[in-house]
Point group: C3
Chain length 454, copies 3
């Protein structure tokens, strides 16, 4: 009866003070619209696999295109099994503040879509969203898959196919899910107020740290850094792919961020979608201008990566900042990414597609940006340093854990099946060596491209 009364009062309230957003609808209806929103946005995030596949393969060489496409295709299959069997339980299963310990293979009690105190089951950390368990899992799965895909770009053009699949499995099953438990699964970071709405840290910088470890243990591509100190540019083979991939990722982010409400809350999703878009736009323009000034011309890969940088940076703060702040965050991200690309080349960290500059650097920046720009408690909005310090703690903690565990995983793989293809295979291209086929049969490729890299 109380609900009826509340609804009536709310209705009167709307008439009296138009413009008040009402979130209260029939509980049955709410489950439906929330589920629709979660599923549709999950589909968009799933589609980001295509975006990553195209950006990464497009920015690398034709001789490795099949390998890169295959990695990006199979990684979501591996992630699906890993997250279903183990990862989701570690991340959202009831347990302690360090790790979840129940819900393997989606088993165990669960009375979703019951919410809050009415929820009874082993995934209590997700009791704030009123959708069926399988919708919760599916939405979280497409996020887990994203983290694994990020690694792919940084280790491209020299990693063994089998090692990449195994590392992806470990990352999704354990490492990603552990960090996710801390921040989203009711773990200790959540407890201290760490805020990462859609995953600048949980997804993007985790992918970035895992990738950084991989790059360090793999080493640079043959011919990238010459003995005389020259950094040799290795040109992209298909900018059509890279551009389409960038636009697909921009589209996918409209699932990634607004979908992280996991509820069809009109005011929130409109704000988040707009913030997401404005940061992307600002990042795009800022990176274009920065590249134009620093490199002399507006490089298309910088235009794309600037946009992605803006998107990564707004991922954590998208629900907590104004539209104006989103533009500023995007501008900073767009400048940062260009400098980061130049920096990584200076220190001979060979990242073929700029994944570290986009996901690691701007994942960290975006997470900090919550502390700086949040209208509720951010430093620039009169909230003092507290929020920013909490964010910094989360960044460091998740980063240290991810880098350490990833290093162990990479070293184990290196000591057993090996992680790098032979030099001969690398020169010939991984497509032939790993898959026995070429990406563009019939098209004549300039042979000097292959010879030159020795």
């Amino acid at each position: 009866m109380r609900r009826k009364l509340t609804t009536g009062l709310l209705f009167l309230l709307t008439m009296a003070t138009p413009g008040v957003a009402l979130a209260q609808v029939d509980p049955e209806t709410k489950v439906i619209v929330d589920t629709l929103w979660v599923m549709v946005t999950a589909f968009l995030v799933f589609f980001m696999n295509a975006g990553f596949a195209l950006v990464e393969s497009g920015l690398c060489r034709a001789k490795n295109a099949v390998n890169i496409l295959a990695k990006n295709f199979i990684v979501f299959a591996a992630s699906s099994i890993a997250f279903w069997a183990v990862g989701f339980a570690l991340m959202f299963g009831n347990g302690n503040s360090i790790v979840g310990l129940s819900g393997w293979f989606l088993g165990g009690a669960d009375n979703s879509p019951a919410m809050a105190d009415a929820y009874q089951g082993v995934f209590a950390a997700l009791n704030w969203t009123g959708v069926p368990l399988y919708a919760k899992f599916f939405f979280q799965l497409v996020f887990a898959g994203t983290a694994a895909t990020i690694v792919s770009g940084a280790v491209a053009e020299r990693i063994k196919f089998s090692s990449f699949i195994l590392f992806s499995f470990i990352l999704v099953a354990v490492i990603y899910s552990l960090g996710g438990h801390w921040a989203w699964g009711g773990g200790w970071l959540a407890g201290m107020g760490f805020a990462d709405f859609a995953g600048s840290t949980v997804v993007h910088s985790v992918g970035g740290w895992a990738a950084l470890a991989g790059v360090i243990f793999l080493g640079a591509r043959t011919g990238k850094y010459l003995p005389n100190g020259t950094v040799r540019p290795i040109p992209a083979h298909n900018m059509t792919s890279a551009t389409l991939g960038g636009l697909i990722l921009w589209l996918g982010w409209f699932g990634f961020n607004p979908g992280s409400t996991m509820a069809a809350d009109p005011g929130a999703i409109a704000l988040i979608a707009l913030n997401t878009n404005m940061a992307a736009a600002a990042g795009c323009l800022a990176a274009t201008a920065t590249a134009w000034v620093m490199l002399g011309k507006p490089d298309l890969s910088m235009i794309i990566n600037g946009t992605l940088a803006g998107l990564v940076a707004i991922t954590a703060p998208c629900n907590a900042v104004t539209v104006g702040s989103s533009v500023i965050i995007g501008l900073v991200a767009g400048v940062l990414v260009v400098y980061a690309v130049l920096f990584f080349d200076k220190v001979k960290i060979d990242d073929p597609v700029g994944a570290l500059s986009v996901h690691l650097v701007n994942g960290m920046f975006g997470t900090l940006a919550v502390g700086l720009f949040a209208t509720d408690g951010g430093l620039f909005f009169g909230g003092g340093f507290g929020k920013t310090m909490t964010q910094a703690i989360g960044i460091v903690a998740v980063g240290a854990m991810t880098f350490s565990l990833s290093s162990i995983a990479w070293l184990l793989l290196k000591a057993t099946i090996g992680i790098r293809v032979s030099k001969e295979e690398e020169l010939e291209g991984l497509d032939t060596g790993e898959h026995g086929m070429e990406a563009y049969a019939g098209f004549v490729q300039a042979q000097e491209m292959r010879a030159e890299v020795i």
Copy 2:
């Protein structure tokens, strides 16, 4: 007043027994959310046209790319007109147990979104879904278009453009719609309990049987099977296309299967989407492993086709099986598709893209899988052989009808305008012969590719 009471009781019920899924919402609201779901998922299925276009063109040669793209583009236009004018009436129009006989050009009485007994009109077979007639039609149209597209892949690289358009028109207007009437339009298969939730048989194996007939009457591509018994591999020209296409199809299947509820039922769509994804993932991994073992390397086209095989197989049972069963169904599909590809080459059935292995073989398997894995009455769940037998009858009946009528259609076309391009045109490429243009002007192609196939 009764509704208010019901709602109140339902609300109390939720509180008392949390987790009970409630489907009862305001009838006005239900029409809205159901229509949103049907439209959005229909858009996703529509997008599968792009997926098919890319997979098929990517796996064939550059000299035929324009032709393949043109076929895949125009086929949906032709299907739209054919299904509007004739097909929808034959499939869903009131009639007898063999064929629908009313509703040409979407005409005739229809009081949708009224449902069940309240429905009055000529499309009574669709009175279980409460959306406007045009939404019903649009959703069914994108399915009909899919069936026609499947044929395209198997007959690629030697079929005349005009004949393909005409065959597509006949398939969608008559053959597909006839089988659809039997299973989904209130026909005799529906009457005996044949279960094909989203169309493993109605869409995929129908496309496969029509394609098989086409391949038989067309013959193999010149140079594919050499007189000395060698099977000559004809390499794919663009694996970027094929991979992107595969991911678009995976995305589209999230419309295909969950949308087939034609209602925004939270529990059902979450289960179906997850089952769809897990079968795809399992199919991907199983085909990769099988290809690795049997062919020595993880062939990317097998990775893609394994995923599609899992998707086709889960299409019929997606609403009726557990997540665990979906993984098993996907694993079987992924193994099946590799063996099927090798089998068809052995018997010299030349299918350039593996459409028969994916859609025909796994369409049949998926339909059988309902009988085996259904939690309600499946053989492995204690239900005996009855359900499986019913499924087998449906597979055989629809297959025999489709293969027979398709053969007649292909033979009529062969006897009149011809179905195969000249050998000279085939060697030069259909792009020049059929369309007077090339797909990649300016790119140098290896000439021996063309000479060799003589």
Copy 3:
């Protein structure tokens, strides 16, 4: 209390007279479903950026692909900033019948989602849709971005990158928004009953007029029209791109037209989606047939452009005509576009991708079609010439304004930073000159392609 009663009565009504479409739902629920629909369709329209990028780059030469992709990528970023800062205020801000004058940077009072008389704020022209302000803005932004993208295609392969970005900014900030105010923002055209539901004029012909001005001041591409009167065909470099782009646009139009309801109205969105599809299908088939007859073969670029022509033409009338009329409108559009392409080449208006034939010619035709085919007041439905005359006035007024202001903008740019690249740069390709990179590094291009165009 009145609402409860109304709902109860409506419920009884549904039971009594099944099939009556009910639009009345809880106001809270309505805001949610309307916002879901607006956001999802806005995402689809956003994705059209990818479609335009692929169609345009695919239909041009490889040496200009990076430039075209970069233009199409950055144009939405520039549009986002321009429309946020200025355009939206000019278009929808309260003002006079010529121009909006409030709401810069989305500032000013606004109590959305309150509707109609309950609305209080500076964007009164949008008070007919009950979604949050940011959802309104985001939906309108993706439309504004589309107009700018249309220009890109017509001026391709010779425009300076910097000039294009500046022109796009001006177009979206001022010119587009001015025309939009007249028709959609409560301006004088709206006042006289001008009907352009989703923007055949407001978006497409505006883009077309701005493009026409650009083409005139830029001149034709070097080597296109030879001194001896020959029109030299310049072949497309990537028909895979163009076809995928065409299908993405077709998909995006399911956001463009049905989303323009800005409300989840089941009957309307089903009708509009179906009309959109049938016009596309008819345009596709008509252009195919016309090209086959006139040019001897079914040219794939005509097949794609015919579909787009049907889509542009149905954009204005999609909500006001029958399914049968949509087919006729599509057929006319498909014939028109082929003749228009030939016409523009005859008068030496060099439009590399047919943007004028698709968007300008069919934008005008589609707007007129409302006057001819509207079931409520159209000429062919017994309504006399009045409606058609109003439509013609709108076409001419918006066209004259857009062409004039665009000409001024182009001339200002020409007089300052210049609008055309040097002849040397054009011959070498804009990718090297403007961006310092190539689209397909490693692929051997036929050198005669470059030499020949001198």
